[in-house]
């Protein structure tokens, strides 16, 4: 696991309270584990489920931690390893591909200065190549934390979307 050499993720009291609230909202129902993990992942800045959080959820729900890891590694929308504050998901399925998603991906790479799977130096962005998310009517499209941005067929349009998530002074690719 990529977290092997990383310092352990510390669960603050505030995060613990937020996780408890998610568990309450799901009525501590173990069948809702996928939904629980999606909501918990949203609470973590780097959009993943750290090991310490996985054990915390396992103990509090309760559920076996092996079930949590089965889900974390099976479902592509869940991640046991750090992603980024804004994972930029580029649709690589066919309707987007025939509408120029190759050049869209190249543009995103150029603007952010990272390859798919890599994270920008400040932890803000990563690029993920994903399967069809049902936005074929606005192809080519990207999705950032649940919001779809479509018709991204020029560099200017891509830049305008990504700039919404950049902090002043952030220097990326280019």
């Amino acid at each position: 696991m990529a977290t092997e050499n990383a310092p352990e993720f510390v669960i603050t009291d505030e995060l613990a309270r937020k996780i408890d609230r998610v568990l309450d909202e799901h009525e501590h129902d173990a069948t809702q584990i996928v939904g629980v993990l999606l909501d918990v992942q949203d609470l973590i800045d780097q959009q993943y489920v750290p090991q310490s959080v996985a054990f915390y959820v396992a103990q509090k729900l309760p559920i076996k931690v092996s079930v949590i890891y089965d889900c974390l590694t099976f479902y592509s929308a869940l991640s046991p390893t750090p992603r980024a504050k804004y994972p930029v998901q580029v649709c690589r399925s066919i309707a987007c591909k025939v509408n120029g998603s190759d050049s869209l991906l190249d543009t995103v790479k150029k603007i952010l200065g990272v390859e798919p799977g890599e994270v920008t130096y400040d932890g803000r962005f990563t690029i993920e190549e994903v399967s069809c998310f049902g936005a074929c009517d606005v192809a080519p499209a990207i999705r950032i934390n649940g919001t779809v941005y479509g018709h991204l067929d020029t560099t200017e349009k891509v830049r305008a979307v990504l700039e919404k998530f950049m902090q002043g002074g952030g220097q990326y690719g280019e």
């Binding site: 173990a30 996928v34 939904g35 999606l38 929308a77 049902g134 936005a135 009517d137």
Partner: protein
């Protein structure tokens, strides 16, 4: 547009999707009120008479499905609404949930009444997470008005709807994988039997339908003028939502009467192919669907006519690919999708997808031989007969159909 109908989509834009009062003001919940005065068997017959087939892809006779579910005697039964549309170029359920969530909730309730179920589960893909508040709001307001919960509308019918989320796994659209996901596990499919109608979610008798299939029901129950059956003919009555995408000027979801020609779908509704390019191929029904070339253009879009032309309705997607993409490139993109989405549990699908991907790459490098093509055909056929679930069975539909439609792509020089 002369080719568009508004039967399933008749509520779109007519009410505020966040307000049940708004829905009631356009006649919402009249269908449930009518349904609870009817015998469940009569509801199933009404659907059967209109020849409604499941809109998720399998095209199973829906009236028959409800009647069979109804026939199973058990103290606790469940209904599932499959909102996990993961086929490529398929986004019709997204439109229904966005514009008409209350009709869906009403339809699921009618299904619960018909098959004598107590609970329903909507399984929606993570990609549509932004629509969760819309569905949760509709459920909550329906409960407040007494259309869900205990003793609905003063009857002894009690029914609840729960919303569950997927997490980016195409295979979870498959029924047995879907139920495992709702049970709180990784969504790996299992062998059938037992069939869902006998032992599905939580080992209870389960009736699964697609969002679009549900959406038809309230309108059909209120269709005193028999508008629905006035569309289409033969085994393909009524209307269908199609998802038009790829190389067309106006991609989108359209409701068409069955019998509209493929040409009208692409060149009238979709306004043709942009940039003066010509048509290379059309894939019907999603990534697991089959392909055709321009010879299909004058075929009417019906279950029977498409079948005769070598393709199926499937998920309702119509993906148009123009001459800038070669048949081989198209197949490689489709193969990438399945290589990514195969759950890896059964050998034919896991290994088959890997090896076909390698052979297609070899073809792209012009290194493939006739022996490779024969090997690829053999693997594809083995996958379709021996995979554990529908994903592996249908993964090579595009390849096998392309071999028939575009034989020249697979004619190579080289050794035997």
């Amino acid at each position: 547009m002369g080719n568009e109908a508004t039967f399933i989509t008749k509520n779109f834009g007519k009410y505020d999707p966040m307000s049940i009062d708004s829905y009631l003001s356009i006649g919402g919940y009249s269908a449930l009120k009518r349904a609870i005065s009817m015998d469940g068997e009569d509801i199933a017959s009404k659907i059967a008479e209109a020849k409604v087939k499941g809109r998720g892809g399998a095209a199973y006779d829906m009236g028959r499905k409800w009647s069979q579910s109804r026939g199973i005697k058990a103290p606790h039964k469940v209904v599932i609404c499959n909102a996990d549309e993961g086929e490529t170029c398929t986004f019709k359920d997204r439109e229904i949930i966005t514009h008409d969530p209350f009709n869906l909730i009403e339809a699921i309730t009618i299904c619960g009444y018909t098959v004598n179920a107590q609970d329903a589960y909507i399984y929606m893909r993570e990609e549509y997470r932004h629509l969760r508040p819309r569905i949760l709001n509709a459920i909550k307001q329906a409960e407040e008005k007494g259309f869900l919960g205990d003793r609905i509308l003063g009857t002894d019918f009690s029914f609840r709807i729960h919303l569950y989320s997927g997490a980016g796994a195409y295979v979870c659209g498959e029924g047995t994988a879907l139920i495992r996901s709702i049970e709180g596990k990784a969504g790996r499919p299992r062998m059938k039997p037992p069939f869902m109608k006998v032992s599905g979610l939580f080992a209870l008798p389960t009736c699964v339908n697609n969002v679009e299939s549900f959406a038809i029901v309230p309108h059909l129950l209120m269709d005193d003028k028999r508008e629905y059956v006035s569309y289409g003919s033969g085994e393909s009555l009524g209307t269908k939502l199609i998802c038009l995408g790829g190389n067309v000027r106006r991609p989108g979801v359209y409701e068409i009467p069955f019998g509209t020609t493929v040409r009208d779908i692409i060149f009238d509704l979709g306004q043709g192919i942009p940039g003066g390019h010509s048509l290379r191929l059309i894939q019907f029904g999603g990534a697991s669907g089959k392909v055709a070339d321009s010879r299909i253009l004058d075929t009417p879009y019906t279950y029977d006519d498409l079948k005769k032309a070598g393709v199926t309705v499937g998920s309702g997607s119509v993906l148009v690919i123009d001459d800038r993409t070669s048949v081989l490139d198209f197949l490689r993109m489709t193969q990438d999708f399945f290589s990514e989405e195969s759950c890896g549990q059964c050998t034919p699908c896991r290994e088959g997808n890997l090896h076909i991907k390698l052979i297609l790459a070899k073809m792209a490098r012009s290194e493939a031989t006739q022996a490779d093509i024969r090997e690829m055909t053999k693997i594809a056929k083995i996958m379709s007969i021996s995979s554990l679930c529908g994903l592996g069975e249908s993964a090579q539909n595009a390849l096998l159909s392309a071999m028939k439609v575009f034989p020249e792509t697979f004619e190579l020089g080289g050794e035997n």
